[in-house]
Amino acid sequence: MEKYYDNKKLQLFFGLLIGVSFGFLLHRGGVTKYDVIVGQLLLSDFTVIKIIFTAIIVTMSGIGLFYRKGLIKVETKSGSLKNSIIGGLLFGVGFGLLGYCPGTIAGAIGNGYIDAMTGGFIGIVLGTGIYAFIHPSLVKKKIVTNDKYSEYNLFNEYKGNILVVILPILLSLMGVLYIIELLGL
């Protein structure tokens, strides 16, 4: 498939195609709705975790299959534990207050939700723009950093060894989902 990666128009079309399918599924999953997302954060509705964990199980297993054949490259994000924790907690505050995240807000807009189209959308664009202008000084002051985990992932570390890498995580995720079902959540 690599020969298609540089075909710009085709890739724009692929982006749209994947996006339409993703948006369709987000709506059918119920996660274009504030009540479902905040229900998860209040630990009363476990829809979000069920969707995310199942998506991880399928994606990770698929990568495991394709990785060794060289069909999929595993390239992960740069950054540091510090960035993930500070940025992640800031994100969490916004997640709880807005009740959508950058992907699901696009779905909420498609669902017709006006708080998502107005305040939420404007807020995220503003926030990412603000970050672009504070990023240089955050780097200079070593608040935003790169550490040894930058671009690090267990796939490349263990060369896609399924038994070592995937199986324990797969079983843990399935175990959590099983417990959620057992508790009737």
């Binding site: 993703f22 950058p102 699901t104 669902n111």
Partner: protein
């Protein structure tokens, strides 16, 4: 074929299909799902309308060029796909305030607007600070077994759970 018109599918079916789509994207485009970078690029386009040089001289926009690309088409597609699904299943409706918010917080739209705006700003700053969002870190990065993504995903939910309980009480 009734499932085409059903408003809600099993979360496990939805999760599994999202996983397959994610894999398809990685195969045909070398791109895992992610949404926050597209908002950043849009912000750059908007700033660029007023002052091109501020964007061209900004290191962060140099790394993430504000132009229509795969990711922006993805986010546009999400809007379209959710709209299609909502219309087909009879769930499309213009709604100002989510029911839970209007029952427990306030039924005034201005209050919800400000809450959503401030929440959005935190999401925007936090997602770029952490390098991704619920899709980019939470689904894609975790599936690729990135340590940074797992830590970020846990932080998203820790921050979100604390904030939600502060708003709604225990």
């Amino acid at each position: 074929m009734d499932f085409i018109f059903e408003q809600r599918w099993s979360p496990y079916a939805v999760g599994a299909l999202i996983g397959l789509i994610n894999l398809l994207g990685m195969l045909i485009s070398n791109k895992p799902l992610g949404a926050s970078t597209s908002f950043l690029k849009l912000s750059g386009m908007i700033v660029g309308l007023f002052d091109k040089n501020r964007v061209l001289s900004n290191d962060y926009y140099k790394k993430n060029k504000p132009e229509i690309d795969w990711g922006m088409m993805l986010v546009f597609g999400i809007i379209l796909g959710a709209f299609l699904s909502a219309v087909i299943s009879g769930d499309f409706r213009l709604m100002k305030i989510p029911p839970m918010w209007s029952d427990n917080v306030s039924s005034n739209f201005i209050v919800r607007f400000i809450g959503a705006l401030v929440g959005g700003i935190f999401l925007g700053v936090g997602s770029r600070w952490a390098g991704g969002c619920t899709s980019g870190h939470g689904i894609s990065g975790t599936s690729q077994l990135s340590i940074l993504s797992w830590v970020a995903a846990v932080a998203f939910f820790v921050g979100g759970i604390i904030t939600a309980f502060l708003i709604y009480g225990i």
